[in-house]
């Protein structure tokens, strides 16, 4: 495990952005994730997509959902975390590079897409990051954030009318969110190439423990090692 120091922790509602500085060089490409744990206990590390990376500094967008994320949310600058990674395939390894993309993120699933958005603006046609409350844009330091509370609509309802105008084969979609959201995206955008970055509970993060299976038309694969991004055509979502 590599030690990282907390530089800042920006909180909003159930979400927080941890800004960290690694004590060692590590590779963390767009779309990759890191496994994070605390030096204070022996609970297993959990996967979090990189929100940004610049040299040894990196950021994670995390939602409080359980004991580890609760503890992480309380970290202050100067505190330490342990991590290993980056793991998984980078987005560029899988995407059709000839297309321009619409990005659709649901909640903390927006993290890898925001990293993509900031890294490859020329590949992005437009981006839609959906949260309950758009106040989160303050900690994300980003526009393109849509709050269900403010708009009264979910992110798909907001994105669909706009994206539908571009169904000429030159555009694709990259999505990240829960399975329900991915199912709706597949139903909504039949004429688009869709790539999805999958969230799953993981054990090892490196392809050995079989903890994060994904059923595909090419057999069983691993979200951590073969993904987390997959061509949605290849994935059997309902298992």
């Amino acid at each position: 495990m590599i030690e990282a120091i907390v530089l800042s922790n920006r909180r909003y509602d159930d979400y927080f952005v941890l800004s960290l500085k690694s004590t060692k060089y590590f590779e963390g490409l767009v779309g990759q994730f890191v496994m994070v744990s605390l030096p204070t206990d022996f609970s297993l590390p959990k996967p979090f997509s990189l929100l940004s990376k610049n040299g040894n500094q990196f950021e994670l967008l995390i939602k409080k959902v359980g004991p580890l994320t609760e503890k992480l949310s309380n970290l202050k600058s100067g505190d330490k975390v342990l991590f290993r990674g980056g793991y998984g395939k980078s987005f560029l390894e899988k995407l059709d590079m000839r297309k321009r993309y619409f990005l659709i993120g649901g909640g903390s699933g927006s993290a890898p897409l925001i990293y993509f958005f900031n890294s490859y603006p020329n590949m992005v046609q437009n981006a839609f990051f959906g949260f309950k409350d758009d106040g989160i844009s303050r900690i994300l330091r980003l526009s393109k954030v849509f709050g269900e509370l403010q708009t009264g609509r979910n992110i798909l309802q907001i994105a669909a009318p706009y994206i539908d105008l571009y169904d000429n084969g030159k555009y694709g979609i990259i999505a990240c969110g829960n399975t329900d959201m991915l199912l709706s995206i597949r139903k909504t955008f039949k004429k688009f190439k869709i790539y999805a970055s999958f969230e799953e509970r993981m054990g090892c993060g490196i392809g050995m423990c079989m903890g994060c299976p994904i059923k595909t038309t090419n057999g069983m694969k691993k979200v951590c090692k073969d993904g987390p991004i997959f061509d949605l055509d290849e994935v059997i979502l309902e298992w």
Binding site: M1, F42, S43, L44, R84, C204, M208, G211, P213
Partner: protein
């Protein structure tokens, strides 16, 4: 150096079956030359897709898993996985699973490779229906399967069991069937309810519980079996994450120490523990054989 049933282990640390798959990924992050052995993921006759996700539930100091023995089946295991496993620079233990006696026999018949040093019969996976787990709860079937496998191989056969109340009878049955050693303990059975939804997180509700939270149960089981079987080789496992944990297992009676959970925490831990045990022995000025089962011989006092 540890000698178990005529097989030389560089040190008493072996990687347990499951968390490390069939070795490829871990070998890129941990020099397998630094551990005594590597246990394959359980292989069955037919390929198995395993259980639908979620398969992992993290707990404080532990883990619930519901993998369900996902594996490519014996054909692909022999043709692909073995090609890599043959090359690892440590003793290879192959874990075998099945639903009935013949499954174990037909798998073992396909695995006549010199590189395999030990077979481990997984008679205690908590995550499959009517599988090894059920077979492993009854002394009669434990004995029958062990004897049938022994008839079909000249290699040492270990039987992996869970922490059942009748564990002494089960181990006796394995020994009667010709087992050369015992692996203790497989994961326990546990469940977790999501209090926001009011539903179990795992689709099969109950999964295999492992990690530091099961260590006292594992230590207790190893101790009990060592007490009942003075010379039986034991691979002890269950929540070993530090050198101190490993030493505790050795004192309780384990000849070899299995590591699973800790490798998920940090893949380099097994090598650190192997090194830590060596340092512990050096500091105390004793040999591993003297430390093994010392809790049954009056403790460290006997060395003075």
């Amino acid at each position: 150096m540890v000698n178990v049933q005529g097989i030389k282990f560089k040190n008493p640390v072996v990687l347990a079956s499951g968390p490390f798959g069939n070795g490829k990924e871990i070998s890129q992050r941990l020099n397998l030359n630094l551990v005594g052995g590597f246990t394959s993921k359980t292989v069955t006759v037919e390929p198995k897709d395993g259980n639908p996700p979620p398969r992992i539930v993290n707990l404080d100091n532990g883990l619930l898993n519901s993998i369900g023995l996902q594996n490519p089946g014996i054909d692909i295991f022999v043709n692909k996985d073995m090609a890599f496993l043959k090359t690892i620079p440590t003793n290879l233990i192959v874990s075998i699973g099945g639903y009935k006696l013949n499954d174990f026999v037909s798998v073992v018949k396909r695995l006549d490779f010199d590189e395999i040093k030990i077979f481990e019969l997984n008679l205690s996976c908590p995550n499959v229906e009517n599988g090894g787990a059920t077979l492993g709860e009854h002394p009669a079937s434990v004995k029958r399967i062990t004897a049938a496998v022994k008839k079909n191989t000249s290699k040492p056969v270990f039987v992996k069991l869970g922490a059942h109340p009748n564990i002494v009878d089960l181990v006796k049955a394995a020994v009667d069937g010709g087992a050369d050693g015992i692996t203790l303990i497989n994961s326990l059975k546990g469940a977790k309810i999501d209090i926001h939804t009011g539903k179990p997180i795992l689709k099969r509700v109950v999964g295999g519980l492992s990690g530091p939270i099961i260590k006292p149960v594992a230590i207790g089981t190893v101790y009990r079996i060592r007490e009942a079987f003075l010379d039986l080789p034991i691979i002890g496992m269950g929540g070993v994450i530090t050198t101190e944990d490993a030493v505790e297992f050795i004192m309780a009676g384990a000849n070899l120490i299995g590591i699973g959970y800790a490798g998920l925490l940090d893949p380099t831990i097994p090598a650190k523990i192997a090194n830590g045990i060596e340092n512990f022995l050096l500091n105390k000025g004793i040999k591993l054989e003297e430390l093994t089962s010392i809790a049954h011989r009056g403790g460290m006092d006997v060395l003075r």
